[in-house]
Every structure is written in structure tokens, then in C-alpha cells.
């Protein structure tokens, strides 16, 4: 096991797959010579060269269109969209083209491609560079949606995404890039579609994703220590496919559930999961399903305001303590 940062794990995941498979190619803005604006692609251009790691113009529709055309004809492209907010400028290619083409053609085309993108807030970048848009992706039939919270998951799930025969949007939380964690040595490939119970508990289940996972864990420790509440924490890891088995079994066990999501409130993934629970585990529940979300408001740039919006460990702690009482 080596200790890597989240950003180093991105590099390792890509490099591992590019070494293994010549069909894996990588394109995006400033990803090559410059190593990416988040330094999450440093060294790839040096190792794999101009033909496999390609800098592009500022043309997101061309980036994803090219990735799609290449995937349809036999390559396995990884495309970077620098900030997830920019998915809006190429949303047609994602939602109308990539997500639908296999189905519309009666299964004729394969689309093995990965869209990597820096998601989420916390960097004081303001409303156009801080959004959590994993719910945008979850809402579209035909794309898989992955969002890791640890370096090990980054490497393993990114490798799995690259090997996946279907299109995957891979959300990297930009505030996590500098965080560190143990990553298995050697080839590491995880499985998409499996949630992870990262803390076992009896009284309440906290469902979290990406940046919300460490915050939920911190809250869970405090709940135990300060309020004697024993919380399960589930790292959802993948929104599509969704591991409802793991989620529902925790919910049944604890009879109480709180979701913690960074995307703004309306039609977030928490709503989807809450609605599944309300339909399928209704009689197992002891308490209303509580959602903790970023409020339905664009994000501010000032530290205090941004911090007040994105769910914090404090807010999770307070909310759970109050509700579980």
C-alpha cells in the first residue's frame, strides 16, 4: 500500500489503463504538456506522448463529440471536462448523443468512454465553477455515474470506468484533490455499482457521496462520542448503477436514514434515494427520511457564505442528533 493523494490516484488510474491497453486515449484542455489545471494529469503526456494524450482547443462539444466518435469506432477515450459546470456547454453530446445512441440504434454501437470532470465546491470559485452536478448525470438514462471519495476508490473506480463497455461520467471532487489515502499497490480495479458501508452503526444510516463522505464520517464519530448515537455511513460511490441492496439493507437495519448531498436540493440524488426508500422500506422506517443538501441557491464565492451552504460535518451532526432524538 502506498499513500497517494486523490489527484495522484487519478494519474495512476489513467496510467495503469493506458499501459495495459493501447486503445485508451486521453483528450482535454491543458491536460497534456501542462499536466492539467488541477495537476491531476501530470506526467501522462511525458509517458504516453502526443498521440495518446492530446491537448484540445476550448471546444467542449468537439472534445466529447470526438470521444464519442472514437469510442463508436473502437477506441476507449477518456475525455476531461475541466470543471463539471462546463458540462452545460456540451450537454447535448452527453445527454442526447452519448447516452442514447446505443439504445436508439437497437444496440448497434458500443460507447466505451469516460468523461472525467472536477465537481463541487469549497474553492471559493463562485457559482459557475463550484457546482455539484452529479444529479444532472444521474437523471439521464444511458450513462453510468461514479463519484469517489478516497484515493483508493479514485484509482480503482477510474480503472473500472475505463474498462466499462458503457459511457461513464467520473466526478472528481475538487476539494478532495489534495487529500491522502492508502492505495493498493499493483493493478487495482474496483467494481462500479457497489456502495461501501464505511462505518457500521445501529441507530441511523447516513448516505453520502464524495466530499460528503468524510464529513459524514466526522459527524458520525461526534454523534457517537457526544450523543451516544451509533450511525452507519454508506459511501454510495456510484449513482448509476445504484447499489440499492446495500443502501436498503442498512436502512432496514437502522430504521432511520439521512441523506447528505452536495448538489442543490431540488431533484438531487437524495430525492431519488429517499423516494425509493419511501416506496420500498416504508414499513421499516421509524422516522421521517431527512435530506441534508446544499440549499436550492447558486453558490457564493465569499468563504463564509460558501461554507454556510455546503453541508458541513457540523450541520450533519446537528441535524442527525436532533432528528434521531
Amino acid at each position: 500500500m502506498a499513500e497517494l493523494t486523490y489527484r495522484e490516484a487519478v494519474i495512476e488510474g489513467i496510467a495503469q489503463e493506458m499501459r495495459r491497453d493501447e486503445k485508451v486515449v486521453f483528450l482535454g484542455e491543458d491536460i497534456g504538456k501542462a499536466g492539467g489545471v488541477f495537476k491531476a494529469t501530470v506526467g501522462l503526456w511525458d509517458e504516453f506522448g502526443d498521440l495518446r494524450v492530446r491537448d484540445t482547443p476550448i471546444s467542449e462539444q468537439a472534445i466529447l463529440g470526438a470521444a464519442m466518435g472514437a469510442a463508436m469506432t473502437g477506441l476507449r477515450p477518456i475525455a476531461e471536462i475541466m470543471f463539471s459546470d462546463f458540462l452545460a456547454v456540451c450537454w447535448d453530446i452527453v445527454t442526447n448523443q452519448i447516452a442514447k445512441s446505443r439504445y436508439m440504434t437497437g444496440g448497434q454501437v458500443d460507447l466505451p468512454l469516460v468523461i472525467r470532470t472536477a465537481n463541487g465546491g469549497g474553492a471559493r470559485f463562485g457559482a459557475q465553477h463550484s457546482q455539484s452536478v452529479e444529479n444532472w448525470a444521474m437523471m439521464i438514462p444511458g450513462i453510468k455515474v461514479v463519484a469517489p471519495s478516497t484515493p483508493a476508490d479514485v484509482k480503482g473506480l477510474l480503472a473500472a470506468a475505463i474498462r466499462d463497455p458503457d459511457p461513464v461520467i467520473f466526478f472528481e471532487q475538487k476539494s478532495l484533490y489534495a487529500t491522502k489515502g492508502e492505495v493498493p499497490d499493483g493493478e487495482h480495479v474496483d467494481e462500479i455499482g457497489k456502495a461501501k458501508v464505511v462505518r457500521e452503526g445501529d441507530d441511523v444510516t447516513i448516505l453520502a457521496l464524495a466530499l460528503m463522505v468524510p464529513r459524514a464520517l466526522e459527524a458520525a464519530e461526534r454523534l457517537q462520542a457526544e450523543a451516544g448515537i451509533s450511525a452507519s455511513v454508506v459511501d454510495i460511490r456510484s449513482l448509476v448503477p445504484l447499489d440499492t441492496q446495500t443502501i436498503l439493507s442498512q436502512v432496514k437495519k437502522t430504521a432511520r436514514v439521512v441523506t447528505v448531498e452536495e448538489n442543490p436540493r431540488l431533484c438531487g440524488w437524495g430525492a431519488e434515494i429517499a423516494s425509493i426508500i419511501a416506496e420500498e422500506c416504508f414499513y421499516d422506517l421509524d422516522m421521517p427520511i431527512v435530506r441534508i443538501t446544499t440549499p436550492h441557491i447558486p453558490l457564493s464565492s465569499a468563504d463564509e457564505l460558501e461554507d454556510a451552504m455546503i453541508p458541513s460535518a457540523d450541520r450533519i451532526f446537528e441535524t442527525v442528533r436532533q432528528e434521531v432524538d
Partner: protein, 346 residues
């Protein structure tokens, strides 16, 4: 490369001969392809009026010389990307007529199993990589297929067809710049039929030739071709394909043409100035090409033999499609994912 070709010529040009650079075989192929497109589309039109086809469809009647000329110039492993007005481009690659007619009728035998309909015709086996119904999207996608060919050094090219109206959307610009910067073997073909849906292209475009006058923005030569003359199209196609295969990068070609029917089946095309359709009917590519073959000395029975064979094929395909059942309901839950299913949870 034809640069700003002048007025249309009715007769083949003086030096042209049946067995010149194009040759008899290619010409008979183009004759057949033009007929296939025309006959299938007329059949589709009839089937609509019998209420056997629902939804929408966009005919290219009048524009057949473009698909035929490009189609005849392509290698079997080349890629075609086209639009909702894509029956023609899909057919000329050798796609099944039954699969096409069946698809529009929403039958199990449809080439997309009834899931795509008229606007999404695709036949990957024949290199027809899809019909795209959102304006502009397929230009960068075609560039991506060309990237694969370049990366794997396969010598394939991607041909990408779109309308005049498409030159005003952002994806057009991104794709053209991208393809030039990466020097990709992709040929962009604008079929300028003078209209977007109901609005004349001249009312919404800053330049006279929506594609050719934009070539300068990408350092490309301006190329205009008579889109009603299959031979002229074939020549311009061959030049562009050769250039692309030789590593010379992309081309942008504007083919001047006209659609005889409305934009889609809902459209009676009342917005056209009087006499415009009639003028263009005089330049109908099909009788013109027929006459050319005869002038070249091709026997009448060869020419009409192809006509009859095509008609027979269309008749047979129609009957096959009619006889096919609707797709089974379970099929709606297939092929969202590579595993064949549609499940988003465990």
C-alpha cells in the same frame, strides 16, 4: 477540386466519356443508387399516406446525386454520419431496404428494432454510423471516428453530411476547427438546399455560401459543387477522400441542391416563392443522369433494367416490412447498456 462551379451543365462536359476517370461501373452504380434513394423515399411517402408510417420523416427527393456521388466514391470500411434527412446516405452504403422501411413502420425487422425511427437510421455493419437529429452534433462525432482512423492508421475516412442551416450552430465551428488542428481524415459535406426548416438560409446567414464562405475561417479552400450532378459530386468526393487518406486533412464541401418536398411530412412548403420548385425540377438529377448515360451510349435496356430491378427490390422490401410484426414489448427494456439490459440498480 471544383471551385465555385458556374451554371449547371445539362450535358456531360465535352471531354467526359463513359470510360473517363469515373468509368462505366461507377456511373451505373450511381445510377442505381440515385434510383434506390428516389424509389425508397417515394415509397415511404406513399406509406405515410396509407398511415402505415407514424412519426415524422424528412425526404431528400431532388438531392439524390449527392448521396450517390459520395456513396460511390467511398470504400466499404469508410464511415458515414448524416442527419434526420438520412435515408439516402444510409441506403447508398448498402443498408437493407427492408430494414429501413420496416424501421419507419415501427416493425421488428426495422434496422433499429423500432427504437430509432426515420431520424436515427444506422447500419454499423455497412459503415453508416448514424443519423443525428439534433443539429450539428454529428460533426464532432464524425471527427472522432476520423481520429480513430488516424490513430490506427487504417486509411478510412469519415464523411459527414449536413444541411445549410447547420452551418450556423456552434458545433459546426468547433468540429471544423478541431478537425483542421488535428488534421483528421474527415470530409464535411454541406447540402445547401436553400432552406433550414421553413426559413430561407439567406435570411439567417451572414455570408452567401453558408459553408464555402466559412472555409476561410479554418484555412480550408472554398469548394462548391453542383449537387444535382452525380459525376461532379463523385469527382469532388474522390479528390477530398484521396487528400484525407493521404494525410492531407479535412475538407469542407458545399453542394448546391434543392429538396422537392417540404422539410418534413408535416410541411406543405408554402413558403417557397412561386416557380422556384419548377425551376429546380428542370434540374432533376435523375432524368438528367438517365439522359447522360444514353448519350454516352449505354443501352436503354441496361438503363431501364436497373430501374426495374430497383423497383422490384423496393416492392419486395415493402412487402417484407409489412409482414413483419411489431417489436415485442420486452425489447423496450433492452440495449440501454452493453449487457443488453436497462437496469440502473441492483
Amino acid at each position: 477540386m471544383a471551385k465555385k462551379a458556374g451554371a449547371k451543365k445539362k450535358a456531360p462536359d465535352k471531354k467526359a466519356q463513359l470510360n473517363d476517370d469515373i468509368g462505366e461501373e461507377n456511373r451505373l452504380t450511381m445510377w442505381r443508387l440515385q434510383l434506390e434513394v428516389r424509389q425508397v423515399e417515394q415509397r415511404l411517402h406513399d406509406l405515410f399516406f396509407q398511415n402505415l408510417i407514424k412519426g415524422t420523416s424528412h425526404l431528400a427527393i431532388g438531392q439524390e446525386a449527392i448521396s450517390a456521388g459520395f456513396g460511390a466514391a467511398m470504400r466499404p470500411d469508410d464511415y458515414t454520419f448524416c442527419t434526420y434527412r438520412g435515408h439516402a446516405h444510409t441506403l447508398v452504403r448498402g443498408a437493407s431496404m427492408t430494414g429501413m422501411i420496416g424501421e419507419l413502420m415501427g416493425k421488428e425487422c426495422g434496422m433499429l428494432k423500432g427504437k430509432g425511427g426515420s431520424m436515427h437510421l444506422t447500419d454499423v455493419e455497412h459503415g453508416a454510423m448514424g443519423s443525428y437529429a439534433i443539429i450539428g452534433a454529428h460533426l464532432p462525432i464524425a471527427a472522432g471516428a476520423a481520429w480513430q482512423a488516424q490513430y490506427n492508421k487504417t486509411g478510412q475516412i469519415a464523411a459527414c453530411f449536413f444541411g445549410d442551416g447547420t452551418t450556423n450552430i456552434g458545433a459546426f465551428h468547433e468540429a471544423l476547427n478541431f478537425a483542421v488542428v488535428w488534421n483528421l481524415p474527415v470530409v464535411f459535406v454541406c447540402e445547401n438546399n436553400l432552406y433550414m426548416e421553413y426559413t430561407p438560409i439567406s435570411e439567417v446567414t451572414a455570408v452567401e455560401h453558408p459553408a464555402a464562405d466559412r472555409a476561410c475561417a479554418y484555412g480550408l479552400p472554398s469548394i462548391i459543387v453542383d449537387g444535382n450532378d452525380a459525376d461532379a459530386v463523385f469527382r469532388v468526393a474522390t479528390t477530398a477522400f484521396d487528400k484525407a487518406r493521404a494525410g492531407g486533412g479535412p475538407s469542407l464541401i458545399e453542394a448546391k441542391t434543392y429538396r422537392y418536398s417540404g422539410h418534413s411530412r408535416a410541411d406543405p412548403a408554402t413558403y417557397r416563392p412561386e416557380g422556384e420548385l419548377e425551376e429546380w425540377m428542370k434540374k432533376d438529377p435523375i432524368p438528367m443522369y438517365r439522359q447522360r448515360l444514353l448519350d454516352f451510349g449505354v443501352k436503354e435496356d441496361v438503363v431501364s433494367g436497373i430501374e426495374e430491378a430497383v423497383l422490384k427490390a423496393v416492392d419486395e422490401a415493402t412487402e417484407e416490412a409489412k409482414a413483419s410484426p411489431p417489436p415485442p414489448l420486452e425489447s423496450a427494456y433492452e440495449d440501454v447498456w452493453a449487457d443488453g439490459g436497462a437496469s440502473w440498480r441492483n
